[in-house]
Symmetry: C2
Subunit: 452 residues, 2 copies
């Protein structure tokens, strides 16, 4: 959280002049190292599932990014004219750029295409817990593959991500936009009206949605049916049973629901530690979904940490060949926030270099040469370059949390050794330079063995 | 390069609707994997030299970013008002955000502080070879350390980066802004005029600079001296000798030049494969430099692939305590471009997963279960989810460049095996699932041994 936000009225005038803009954060070393750890787990899944990482520019044509994201996201976009007069924007989500790639550079690549990304996104939302104006998402997109096996693969990755991260009480909530859409379409409601209803459902404004449908002349029995569906949420089996009862006169909606059940039961069998829920009142804000939709949750955060679904029309919209797609993205910053709260970073610490101190300024050159030699054999070294005395250097090492200090004096230089001081055990030994690397590796193993 | 730019007049109307904005590029999988390789080498140096990675937002206050970057960069900034009416911009370089961090969140951290970054930057420049409007830079900043040992450390990293990457004919060109500045200051030229002269020198418009100095009333002997200095470029020893002759009446400038020589001679002794040059007509466009400045080059690209210098006043400017700083950043995209041209990615290829094909649709569930099992033991697997026949699946495997295909049929399922087909050797064997991982690892080692 930016310093700015932790301060109030009276103190503000004493603040330094420049801060991060509201809602955007600095990642200091430890914070960033934790993010990198999450990113490594995400990238490991890219590799294990055969998804190839791509990257598109942060800045794209406004029309591309705005086309199908839905009204709420559209209004929160950072949009402006560049110096050439183009209307551009910072990307608010990843599926539109992926669809653009499919419609252009990847148009003729053999299908299916599995793409992955780890990008930053921008939305001018009101900042709150787990919501930043610049945030990272990791995404998986499976393109050119219709059908439930593709849905299963994508949701398997989503579940696998939650278990790989070790998140507490992971759960996945799912629905299928086809159920509501097919019911509305059968009553003659066009896509625009379907979108309006799903947008209201997304905000849980069900009463308003039903009111609107009444105005549009929908018959009472259908409105009752929708009202029942909107409130159906629970385990796969219980929701399936009740919903199939409601839908007995609507075979298309029934078939869609059965498919949803098949996908979720498959996942339930694979991931006993993840809770799977059907929520028929659930819709996602983005307009481009055409099939299954889902979100992932964990203990301690009300908002979803991942979300996705099927979008079979999007690539076409961007001028490509008809290309079905299904994918999801996970909020890296949110995941980091909950992992911190859930204590999942326990024992985590930044790598510390060896700290090399020439005992006199005269030995500076020798110290820098030795540092370079050690680094070339893979040992991280920080050289004392301010000319601190040994006493002051040890105080600095303490403040920085360094474990090892190497002192380099006349005797050490003539013998090809260093005096290695262990700040934790408070002992000091003379070590030959060639033996330093092995010794440190053994120490680490020894520490681990002792700790374990 | 965006498709858009490769097309001309008549073809334009046939293009798909959306492209990247001019001057920004998509990183497709192979391209991105090469960038990641460079990033890994850069990050390895972060670790070996004890530099801690940080990240600041892409978007910052315009005033912060514009303050000291120099007129040319300032004019190329992507600046706009956000929805809250704040004047913001996309960062054009990394030193200002680092200085902001030092002036705020890292103000009280023990000095020196070694920070590193790998960020994207934005400049509205005319796109050309090695120059994009969105580009990546990796940077090293050493803060709180005055003096030549800090300069040596930063330039050692710069040289080490070039040798780690294996760049052909690496060279480093250096100067010290104090030489020209001290001469001008002694003649009563204020900082603004010094900046104007250095900005002209940066563009190699020396005649114009000398003309301007004449207008400002500078005496002819000094103008002659400057004219001589501007044209001095060559090996450390030859430039030092000639320049010390010119500067004999200017002890301050002489001392600065001697320091520069000391730093460069130290580096020359360490890196015999790097050519070191002094160029006294060299200036860098950014206004914040106060000491040594340098740029790195390699065969085949006229523009610098890295550049940096000392900036002792910047942190103060941003409201922090007086904090000397020295650092550099390297252009990741430019490095990738030249490495490609220099053939340094030879033998590079994307990791390919095993391709698992159920021989009948009925075996889909078993295939997905097996895939999950293999992945959990660390083996990347792609499942055939489109229901392709074996013949068509093998054709797809060929097109994708997969080495191994696993066929899963009734016999294999009942035996706990797969039929493993090697697309390169065109043979097929039955392999027990438990033995698959070891077998593949041995194959790879064997292939390497055979190749090596």
């Amino acid at each position: 959280m930016p310093l700015q936000e932790r301060c109030h009225g009276a103190y503000r005038s004493a603040l330094p002049r420049f801060q991060t803009v509201r809602g955007m954060k600095d990642y200091l070393p430890e914070d960033l190292a934790k993010r990198r750890l999450i990113e490594r787990i995400v990238r490991r899944l890219f590799s294990l599932y055969g998804y190839l990482e791509v990257e598109t520019p942060t800045l794209e044509s406004y029309d591309l990014l705005a086309a199908k994201v839905g009204e709420e996201t559209r209004k929160s976009m950072y949009a402006f004219k560049d110096l050439g007069g183009r209307m551009v924007a910072l990307r608010p989500e990843g599926t539109a750029p992926i669809a653009r790639l499919m419609a252009t550079k990847l148009r003729t690549a053999p299908k299916p295409i599995r793409l992955a990304y780890l990008w930053d996104f921008f939305r001018y939302d009101e900042p709150q817990k787990g919501r930043l104006r610049r945030f990272y998402q990791g995404g998986f997109e499976l393109l050119g593959a219709p059908g439930i096996y593709a849905d299963m693969e994508i949701m398997t990755i989503a579940a696998n991500l939650m278990t790989s991260l070790g998140l507490r009480k992971p759960s996945i909530k799912a629905s299928h936009v086809g159920i509501i859409r097919s019911l509305l379409a059968k009553q003659g409601m066009d896509e625009e009206r379907q979108n309006a209803i799903l947008a209201l459902a997304d905000k849980k404004r069900y009463e308003e949605a039903l009111e609107r449908l009444k105005e549009w002349g929908l018959q009472d029995s259908i409105i009752d049916l929708l009202s029942n569906l909107f409130s159906l949420k629970g385990s796969i089996d219980s929701v399936m049973e009740e919903a199939l009862g409601y839908l007995k006169d609507f075979p298309e909606a029934m078939d869609i629901l059965k498919e949803l059940g098949k996908v979720l039961r498959y996942l339930r069998d694979l991931f006993s530690e993840v809770e799977f829920i059907i929520d028929l009142g659930f819709a996602r804000g983005l307009e481009y979904y055409t099939g299954i939709i889902f979100e992932g949750f964990t203990e301690g955060l009300e908002s979803a940490i991942l979300g996705g679904g099927r979008y079979d029309k999007l690539v076409e919209l961007y001028g490509g060949d008809p290309t079905p797609g299904v994918g999801f993205s996970a909020g890296i910053d949110r995941i980091q926030l909950v992992m911190d709260e859930q204590g999942l970073f326990q024992g985590f610490s930044l790598e510390k270099p060896l700290y090399l101190v020439p005992v006199k300024g005269d030995f500076m050159k020798q110290a820098m040469d030795l540092a370079l030699k050690l680094r070339s054999s893979g040992v991280p070294v920080e050289v004392e370059i301010l000319g601190r005395s040994v006493t002051r250097a040890l105080r600095y090492a303490e403040a920085k949390g360094f474990r090892y200090v190497m002192l380099l004096g006349e005797r050490e230089i003539s013998q090809g050794t260093v005096s290695l001081r262990d700040m934790e055990r408070r002992d000091q030994r003379t070590v030959k330079i060639e033996e330093l690397k092995t010794l440190l590796e053994n120490e680490r193993t020894g520490d681990l063995a002792a700790a374990g």
